[in-house]
């Protein structure tokens, strides 16, 4: 079953999406964990998290974006320009960071030049950078505006009941993913970091009902087999910029490491917090999404994030931490610098690396750095 997930993680489109589209379903793309995707699900549509997988050139991305921009949004734009996102009926832009929010304009302008590259529904979803009573209210209004825009554009109604049902389903998936987390952080490790990532990435690109079933079955069989893969390997944690690249994890794990924990947005941060099912659905959703395990776009919360790291390091008995950032990702890159200072001071070995998103052209360099880190871990 893991192979199904791995195949999905290696490609953009997948058979589930094709089947969904074949039966008249709509797909809405979004880039970030700050979008309450339950709304899309409640609208009867498929939420699909953007990725740049399979990019081989940046000819389109570089035409609109300037030179000093993170390659993640550039790769997304590239694929859009090449028509590889043609299965999208809509797209939502979320200001995760400056590079990501400018995907809005760059994609709109590319849409003028590359016919059909811009989905018909295109929406900008604002997210405050801090948590206060008024920022939560603003965010709730923004969520209502988003919901209404979907209703209006696609001529449908998103009921409270449907949102509540979506919340239930998503929470169910999150609980399963927490169960998967325990299969990695315990004394015996039942799946590798790259396999876990494949499972997570697939979950952002397929109907969530089917995903829950598949996930549950996978976890059952992993627990049944109970095959420990940790023997002789160093337990690592991966931190930093967005990563949906299974190949990148493979490079690390092929060097004798085992990624037993992470704080990534395709990883732990996407499932660590539940939505309060006892509260009014929209309110509960907005609270969860604005306050979920913070990423550095929420400025001034460094200490909270350090606490999360410390907790994860303890829980998963991590031997070393890999702090990575995509080039030009100053948010994660700089925070990694302080994490390194503070964790090293506590005796946790850390390695910082800067990398590109996209085709793993840097495998040799990465491997060398990781080998050296493994040596340090002894």
């Amino acid at each position: 079953m893991i192979d199904t997930f791995r195949t999905m993680a290696r490609t953009l489109n997948n058979p589930f999406v094709e089947k969904w589209k074949g039966s008249g379903g709509k797909v809405i793309g979004f880039p970030c964990t700050y979008l309450p995707e339950e709304i899309i699900h409640a609208a009867g549509m498929l939420p699909f998290r953007f990725r740049g997988v399979g990019t081989t050139s940046l000819s389109v991305g570089d035409t609109y974006f300037g030179p000093v921009i993170c390659s993640f949004p550039k790769c997304i734009l590239q694929l859009a320009g090449e028509g590889r996102y043609e299965f999208l009926d809509g797209a939502v832009i979320v200001p995760g960071c400056d590079s990501m929010r400018r995907l809005d304009e760059c994609w709109r302008k590319a849409g003028e030049d590359y016919q059909g590259s811009l989905p018909g529904y295109f929406h900008y979803f604002g997210v405050p950078h801090k948590v206060t009573d008024y920022s939560i209210s603003w965010f709730e209004e923004e969520t209502v505006i988003f919901k209404e825009s979907l209703e209006q554009y696609f001529d449908l109604t998103i009921t409270d009941d449907a949102v509540a049902e979506a919340i239930g389903l998503y929470n169910g998936i999150r609980r399963l993913l927490c169960r998967m987390d325990r299969l990695r952080t315990g004394d015996t490790v039942l799946l590798s970091g790259s396999d876990a990532l494949a499972v997570l990435v697939a979950g952002s690109a397929m109907p969530r009902g089917s995903y829950r079933e598949l996930l549950e079955g996978t976890l059952d069989s992993l627990e049944r087999e109970a095959r420990d893969i940790s023997e002789g390997r160093k337990r690592l944690m991966l931190v930093g910029s967005v990563n949906d690249d299974v190949g990148f994890m493979d490079v690390i794990e092929d060097s004798g490491g085992l990624i037993v924990a992470d704080t990534l947005c395709f990883g732990f941060r996407s499932y660590a917090d539940l939505v309060d099912e006892s509260d009014e659905p929209l309110k509960a959703l907005t609270r969860r999404y604005l306050q979920h395990s913070y990423c550095p776009r929420m400025f001034g919360y460094y200490k909270d994030r350090l606490q999360v790291l410390r907790r994860r390091i303890r829980e998963a008995r991590v031997d070393g931490v890999i702090l990575q950032n995509i080039r030009f990702c100053d948010l994660h890159g700089s925070e990694n610098g302080i994490f390194e200072r503070d964790l090293e001071a506590e005796g946790v070995p850390c390695m910082r690396i800067e990398r590109e998103y996209g085709p793993l052209v840097e495998t040799g360099r990465l491997k060398m750095r990781i080998d050296a880190f493994m040596e340090r871990l002894g």
């Binding site: 000093v68 400018r102 760059c106 950078h129 400025f299 001034g300 700089s334 610098g337 302080i338």
Partner: protein, 476 residues
């Protein structure tokens, strides 16, 4: 960092240089000229400033006073806050907090020191900050992180939602120095009811933070005093901008720098009002004589700088423009959006007004002003949305009759590099010649100053915007 660089405190050395430079003109002209020869890397810049007469002399004295205030704040029992250039200072002055505007400190180091702030830029990277971050903060921040300056008591910034790179620098500094941090953040729109409510609630939160940090309650009379000063300054600034519309523009190019430095460092203080009055005197004189603000009194071509200026060693940017009789009609940093500004006519929703009739009115005025600060106003949303970058650039270009638009930024500027190609394309489609410079305003190591002038010169030549040979315009 070289041992010699660590020998002196960064802010102290800036103050001694500016303090000494500010008295060079107190004696006779002959004495001044002799003193100039003794100044190493900042001679031409100083002369350019002093040459502006009373206004230039006043600016130097005000800068010296500002820097001294930063250095002596703690001894005098005041709190010191790190803040960013686009944070409007009146609220800090109302609390008697001394703002250290990090970007302004970087500008000073960039044009005064022979090697600019290179070592401090690199020091930031050594302590973990990405080398791809914006140099405007990194330049001075490196010195402060190395302990070569006053240790701030807390940080206030207003860039989240506007410029993450900027906000990230301050968040980094707060985590690194382990000092309190407060951010005002901004929704992607400017003028709608939701944005207004957000700005006002956020600003009240800032007031509570400042009360907590200073252990003082907001002094209403002091706030009113500061705001009355802001109101006076706003009138003067509006008049100054109107003069820029004249052809030739009687406003000396470097007044643009005076205007925004004064606003960023001293808005709401009587010092700044005095500076503005002196600037206006000079501009009125030039206008009465029908001459341009340049040394020669001539104007060959008019340019609008769609983003920021270039702060290379010895402020060569302004002198170079002057020597080519290129009028500098301002940049994003000199647009403030007072209700009476010429550019705000018919766009009142994009402007702010200063009201002092009640505490709430005052706080709301400050919130509105803060949300219209340079950059905060125009790059918070999509560049092509109403009241945003394209809209403003076209408005300024038309109002000020600019012949061209040039973009200078920093290589760390994700925000503008994410859209400047689109902006340039849109402007060109509307017939406005537009140049994107791949330089870094605070770091000459990215692109040499000579390369910058070559590029501007060649652009003007090719677009038929200057008479004469290309060599004439392009030589540095």
């Amino acid at each position: 960092m070289k041992q010699e660089t660590k020998e002196y405190q960064y802010d102290w050395i800036l103050w001694t240089i500016i303090e000494n430079a500010s008295v060079t003109h107190d004696g006779s002209v002959k004495e001044y000229e002799s003193l100039l020869t003794l100044i190493p890397h900042f001679r031409e810049a100083l002369d350019e400033i002093i040459r502006q007469g009373e206004a230039g002399i006043c600016l130097m004295k005000l800068m010296a006073r500002y820097l001294k205030r930063c250095l002596t704040a703690h001894d005098e029992g005041r709190k010191v806050a790190f803040t960013t250039f686009c944070f409007s200072t009146p609220v800090l002055y109302a609390f008697d907090v001394v703002p250290i505007v990090v970007e302004a400190m970087t500008v000073l180091g960039t044009f005064i020191f022979k090697r600019g702030t290179g070592e401090f830029l690199d020091y930031c990277s050594e302590v973990g900050f990405t080398e791809t971050s914006c140099s405007s903060q990194r330049g001075a921040l490196g010195a402060y992180l190395a302990g070569l300056g006053v240790r701030p008591d807390f940080i206030v910034c207003d860039s989240p939602g506007i410029c993450d790179t900027n906000a990230n620098s301050y968040a980094f500094a707060s985590a690194y120095l382990d000092i309190p941090f407060f951010q005002l953040n901004h929704p992607p729109t400017l003028a709608d009811e939701r944005a207004r409510r957000y700005h006002q609630a956020d600003f009240r939160c800032l007031v509570s933070f400042l009360e907590e940090q200073t252990k003082k309650t907001l002094d209403i009379d002091r706030l009113r005093e500061v705001l009355e000063e802001v109101r006076k300054q706003d009138e003067l600034i509006c008049e100054l901008t109107e003069f820029q519309r004249l052809t030739p523009s009687p406003v000396p190019n470097i007044f643009n720098l005076f205007l925004y430095s004064g606003t960023f460092l001293m808005s709401g203080t009587s010092d700044f009002t005095e500076l503005l009055e002196l600037m206006l005197e000079r501009v009125r004189e030039n206008a009465a004589r029908g001459v341009a603000g340049s040394r020669s009194g001539g104007e060959r071509v008019r340019g609008f700088f769609s983003y920021i200026d270039h702060y290379t060693t010895d402020l060569r940017f302004w002198r170079w423009l002057e020597s080519r009789e290129i009028a500098h009609l301002g940049c994003i940093l000199s647009s403030f959006w007072q209700e009476d500004a010429i550019y705000a006519a018919g766009r009142t929703e994009a402007a702010y007004a200063v009201r002092t009739d009640s505490v709430d009115a005052m706080i709301d005025s400050l919130a509105a002003q803060m949300s219209r600060m340079p950059m905060v106003k125009s790059i918070r949303g999509p560049y092509d949305a109403p009241h945003m970058w394209l809209d403003d650039t076209m408005l300024f270009t038309r109002l000020l009759k600019a012949d061209f638009v040039a973009y200078i930024g920093t290589m760390g500027c994700r925000n503008t590099w994410g859209m400047v190609k689109l902006l340039a394309r849109d402007l060109e489609r509307r017939g406005i010649p537009t140049l994107i410079l791949y330089a870094d305003a605070f770091d000459d190591r990215i692109q040499s100053w000579e390369a910058v002038t070559d590029r501007i010169g060649e652009f003007l030549h090719l677009r038929g915007l200057t008479s004469g040979e290309p060599g004439l315009v392009s030589s540095g």
